[in-house]
Symmetry: C2
Subunit: 354 residues, 2 copies
């Protein structure tokens, strides 16, 4: 709001992505707390939950609110405060986002679910530990230049592939951390953006897709149908193809998730996500930078905030205000935000505003 | 979907109001479960949470989705399964919807919060136990003719004012029950409604408002600013006044809440809500029927379902399919759905479709 020089009175509605203020903070119905603590009077504030894709929905439904004509100015925010709970409790809480009846009851948590995907991807495409580790090494390196990142230290392939085993074959450095954080954007119709200060970018397209709760109901474990569907719909709305996009922020909750995302979105051939990462193609100086922010792995993964944060990073890159991690000559960026075991995916394409 | 003779393929999106599938069912990220269990492929499904107003938001944001042009056909659903937990756990879970820092930490739960409002209303306007009980007596009587109601038995004023004290001055029959339930509607643009079977009504207007989390930050305890603001905005959008409305379904989580609602919405003078109820003005045969369905008190209050259920009841009345509880000659009905201690209010006005 300070960047846009926008005041409380100009905000028509708030959309808030939060996974579970119930479980993490003992504060259900947290959305009205936002206008309350900002000193706004009676501004409608709506909480959206789609597991780790809650933030993506806060952006998308803010756009829909404006497109409907009901609102001119929306504050879309994502937030999560996770460190109140011990780590094991957080893992158990997050597991509730998987299928409770068939999966959680068998003792599986998300590291286990994504470990099965990593195994399937390795068996089918040869995506090995070193390739997975290369995602973490790249994202840690990227985060060194992100002053808001949780971990600003480089790691090596050797360190990653010898770190603590979490859920075979995923090790500590294959997993994103537990994080407190928040992110926010102001959304307005493009023709009214000139009324506000600061840089502006266009949201060119977006889409949301759902899939089955349980993994056993899906035809494959090596990718997400939801990513494919949401990405295809987003490209259709934007009238663009993967080749048009300059960079992406994708949901690397586990290293294998980034590998599957860049394949399923169409940026790389299916099965090649691991090897292209190892080859440096998705590094900041590669031909298609992915998670230049540090991603969930190193920037951190405060659940509800993540989808909003991806859009904030894309906004900064397209506005040329990304500081030391600024990419040269970028005009189109894409985000992919994943909820649960990929049961929800939300994608956005943003375009440089000038 | 059977009533409208609509198939899975025609549903563009699902909006689901659920308070906390996390706490009640150990299943966070429950929204994708709806298209999954309905056998729909990849249909976006979004959960909205606004405490007991979650269902109202599922309707309202479904409308916004259609108004945006993104969707033609929306399934708005509300659901809650509350009886998995012991009663005391439910009360504690619901209390998380009040202000956790200042209120819940002091030991207050919702019966206590609404008891303070009942005390304030009694002190200022003389709204006594008999008047409060008359809300429950009326709503129990109404529910006898609702085949989907939780309690289909009449009670007396005498029984109500001598029932178990819950939070002084509120007694057992001043409180709505713990309920399992669900409700759903199909939303389409009016010009496409003719493509589907069954009766249709128009949603003429809607609004949402927020207020402070804690009661101590508000200027008064005898009504909700949010109800006043949301009702005023709804009337403005509809270009109608309270005099134009024929009946209402309002949020009687406690008897005092119905009394305050019919005042704050403008149907009765402030302070008269109790006496007009005792006088029978809001009974089925009164001049302005309120909670002809039985209300939360007797129809039941499955949290996320309630706001959708209010719209379903209004739809049935305006379509002439309400059976034994059908009101004569009604063309405009209004709903008021309350979340938390009134920190969220959602109102809708529906109009007969012919």
């Amino acid at each position: 709001m300070e960047m846009a020089e926008i005041t409380n009175n100009s905000i028509d509605a708030i959309y808030a992505g939060m996974l579970s203020p119930d479980v993490f903070e003992h504060q259900m119905h947290a959305a009205p707390g936002i206008p309350d603590y900002l000193g706004m009077k009676n501004t409608p504030s709506t909480r959206l939950e789609a597991a780790c894709a809650s933030g993506g929905l806060a952006i998308m439904h803010g756009i829909i609110g404006i497109a409907s004509g009901l609102y001119d100015t929306v504050l879309s925010v994502g937030a999560e405060k996770m460190t109140n709970l011990p780590t094991a409790h957080v893992t158990e809480a997050l597991a509730m986002c998987a299928d409770d009846i068939y999966e959680v009851s068998s003792g599986i948590t998300f590291p286990g679910a994504f470990a099965m995907m990593a195994r399937a991807h390795e068996r089918e495409f040869g995506t090995n530990a070193e390739m997975r580790a290369s995602v973490a090494v790249k994202n840690h390196k990227h985060a060194v230049d992100n002053e808001l990142a949780q971990f600003r230290k480089e790691i090596t392939i050797d360190k990653a592939i010898n770190s603590l085993m979490i859920a075979d074959p995923l090790r500590l450095y294959d997993c994103s951390p537990i994080t407190d954080g928040a992110a926010a954007v102001i959304l307005v119709p493009w023709d009214k953006a000139k009324n506000y200060s600061g840089p502006k970018v266009k949201i060119r397209a977006f889409a949301q897709a759902s899939d089955t709760m349980s993994l056993h109901d899906r035809p494959e474990l090596t990718g997400f149908m939801t990513t494919k569907v949401a990405a295809r719909k987003t490209f259709e709305m934007a009238k663009l193809t993967p080749k048009d996009i300059d960079f992406a922020e994708v949901h690397d909750c586990f290293t294998i998730a980034e590998i599957m995302a860049i394949e399923d979105m169409g940026f790389f051939e299916k099965g090649k996500g691991g090897s292209v990462t190892l080859d440096g193609e998705t590094a900041r100086d590669g031909h298609f930078p992915v998670n230049n922010s540090g991603g969930l792995k190193a920037k951190g993964h405060p659940i509800g905030a993540t989808g909003v944060s991806q859009v904030v990073e894309t906004f900064k890159q397209l506005s040329g205000i990304a500081g030391k991690r600024q990419l040269d000559d970028v005009s189109l960026g894409m985000t992919q935000n994943l909820g649960g075991s990929g049961s929800t995916i939300v994608c956005h394409i943003l375009e440089r505003g000038d």
